[in-house]
């Protein structure tokens, strides 16, 4: 079954920049898809058009059978609860503790007042602790987030997304600010989330080797167009196509060192 269908998706910034041009693809439940492409290719824009943090100029995004583009504000908020998002810079509230940040993932399910005062049900707290435990953060539960390492922060980010009980995770360069060891931990977690929990993952990466190693499927974007969509066994030529002709060798080289 398709969790996500993207049809004729086009995004223009102003009148000049064509960030996405006529994208078409669909993603199956539990699939781990990696979106690769040069910086500026349109990867972040694509992810944000899916949960409508950015409004597409044209085209449709159908998530869990619902056309995202036709929803009013309230229905959109309800639909967004089913989509978790993970960021390069983690985007946690640094002044709050790990558990407080994780529980933020439940805000969409709560009344305004309960959310404002931060009152969560016992069941929600239980789930939060369970997820935190699963991600190996038990010792950090009551630590403020500005005291964590990058890898730990990203795991808090994942926990916050997981507690939403999402069907889809959108990950925008989740390991771009991490060292190789922490990167591996995060990618392993994401892979597990997709395989064991059956949650679909759409992961923007610019490390080709990581993408090839972890993904079920690669979508290559160049200048806002899909130039590759298929299994993770790309030929050198196909990589050239995604990254532009002269840069191919270089990128594979850099990718091998697991550069951020």
């Amino acid at each position: 079954m398709n969790v996500l269908e993207v049809k004729n998706l086009t995004k223009k910034y102003g009148t000049e920049t064509l960030a996405l041009s006529d994208l078409n693809f669909s993603v199956k439940e539990g699939e781990f898809v990696s979106v690769i492409g040069q910086s500026g290719a349109g990867k972040s824009t694509l992810l944000r058009c899916i949960n409508r943090m950015i409004d597409a100029t044209e085209g449709e995004v159908i998530f869990a059978g619902v056309n995202m583009c036709k929803l009013d504000k309230k229905a959109l908020r309800k639909q967004r609860r089913k989509i978790g998002m993970i960021f390069q810079h983690y985007n946690l509230v640094n002044q709050l503790t790990v558990i407080e940040n994780v529980l933020h993932g439940r805000l969409g399910y709560k009344s305004t007042l309960a959310g404002v005062v931060g009152s969560y049900t016992n069941e929600e707290k239980r789930q939060a602790f369970e997820i935190i435990d699963m991600l190996g953060l038990t010792e950090q539960v009551y630590k403020r987030c500005d005291q964590l390492s990058g890898g730990q922060k990203q795991r808090v980010g994942i926990a916050r997304a997981l507690i939403q009980n999402p069907k889809l995770l959108l990950c925008d360069e989740p390991i771009a600010s991490l060292d190789p060891n922490a990167s591996k931990v995060i990618m392993d977690h994401l892979r597990n989330i997709s395989t064991k929990l059956g949650i679909t993952c759409l992961v923007n990466l610019h490390q080709v080797d990581v993408a090839l190693k972890y993904a079920d499927r690669i979508i290559g974007i160049n200048k806002g167009k899909i130039v590759y969509d298929g299994p993770p066994d790309l030929t050198a030529e196909q990589i050239h196509m995604i990254y532009g002709s002269q840069a191919g060798e270089l990128i594979i080289d850099i990718g091998g060192r697991n550069e951020s």
């Binding site: 949960n51 943090m53 908020r77 309800k78 639909q79 967004r80 609860r81 989509i83 978790g84 998002m85 960021f87 810079h89 985007n91 946690l92 509230v93 640094n94 002044q95 709050l96 933020h104 993932g105 805000l107 969409g108 399910y109 709560k110 305004t112 959310g115 404002v116 005062v117 931060g118 980010g157 916050r160 997304a161 939403q164």
Partner: protein, 289 residues
């Protein structure tokens, strides 16, 4: 030719050519409109100042005598302070009234400014609403506190009511600017993260924006409290709002009691130093957190 080749060729060129390069005058800073206007202003101010000294009407005032008399007054004021019209307990009570006035106006002003500050922050509001509030607030701040008090005194009569309303008004203006700028500093990614998970505006404000900017909000509020303390002293004198400022006004305008003025000055100063001390402690603590 790539960059490193260009660099190399620069150094292997004939000395004559290199000198040619060195001889050309390179300009790093260009004179722009702002700096020209600035210079013209400074020069005209300097000319006016010098002109002023030549054209003052000095009449019969003998500068040295005047300075000596003033010094004598200051000596009486600062070296011989003592109570005359009231005693220590009344003095403390009056200082309390002044502090209360400062506290009340800061509290009410801070509360109102918190909500309007959210609407004035561009990342939490629409551009139109934000600009309307910011424009209005700039106007409120441009008019001094004393003037606001006197304006409200037209309706409320001179006294504590006009002082509270007027001081609160200016406080709101000041804190809206401070708060909204603190809110605008909040990482856009954090707001995006909560919005993307389905949280609504109020939830984002209270769960992300306020916790992220709490230390700034607190230190701005305390800073305004210090300003309001000084304002409250002045309002006691200028608008009959009571408190230590009123006693100061009576002593200086009616009793001409220099010694008591000296005492009151020390009182006011002691409290101001105390507030400054608390403020420094508070900032250190906030920074540690």
């Amino acid at each position: 030719m790539n960059f490193s080749e260009t660099l190399k060729s620069l150094w292997v060129q004939s000395p004559g050519k290199r000198q040619g390069i060195a001889a050309k005058k390179y300009i790093i800073k260009r004179a722009n409109k702002a700096s020209i206007v600035m210079n013209i202003t400074l020069i005209s101010l300097a000319i006016l100042t010098i002109y002023g000294f030549f054209t003052f009407e000095y009449k019969d005032v003998k500068i040295l005598e005047v300075i000596a008399a003033t010094a004598a007054n200051f000596k009486t004021m600062l070296l011989e302070p003592r109570f005359n019209h009231f005693d220590l307990s009344k003095g403390l009570y009056q200082v309390g009234v002044t502090l209360g006035l400062a506290f009340l106006t800061t509290l009410i002003g801070g509360f109102i400014a918190l909500f309007l500050g959210l609407l004035a922050a561009q990342n939490l509001s629409s551009l139109i609403v934000s600009n309307i509030i910011k424009g209005f607030v700039a106007f409120v701040r441009a008019v001094p506190t004393v003037l606001w008090v006197l304006i409200f005194a037209v309706a409320a009569g001179l006294g504590s009511v006009a002082a509270v309303i007027g001081m609160t008004f200016h406080t709101v203006g000041y804190l809206i600017k401070a708060y909204s700028e603190s809110f605008e500093e909040v990482d856009a990614g954090v707001i995006e993260a909560l919005k993307g998970s389905g949280a609504n505006w109020w939830q984002i404000v209270f769960q992300a924006v306020i916790p992220s900017s709490a230390t700034y909000l607190l230190s701005w509020t305390f800073m305004r409290f210090e300003i309001n303390y000084m304002n409250a002293v002045a309002m006691g004198a200028a608008a009959g709002a009571g408190g230590i400022g009123y006693e100061l006004f009576m002593d200086s305008s009616f009793y001409f009691d220099l010694r008591e003025i000296g005492l009151i000055t020390y009182f006011i100063l002691a409290i101001a130093v105390m507030l400054e001390f608390i403020s420094i402690k508070l900032k250190v603590k906030l920074r540690e957190d």
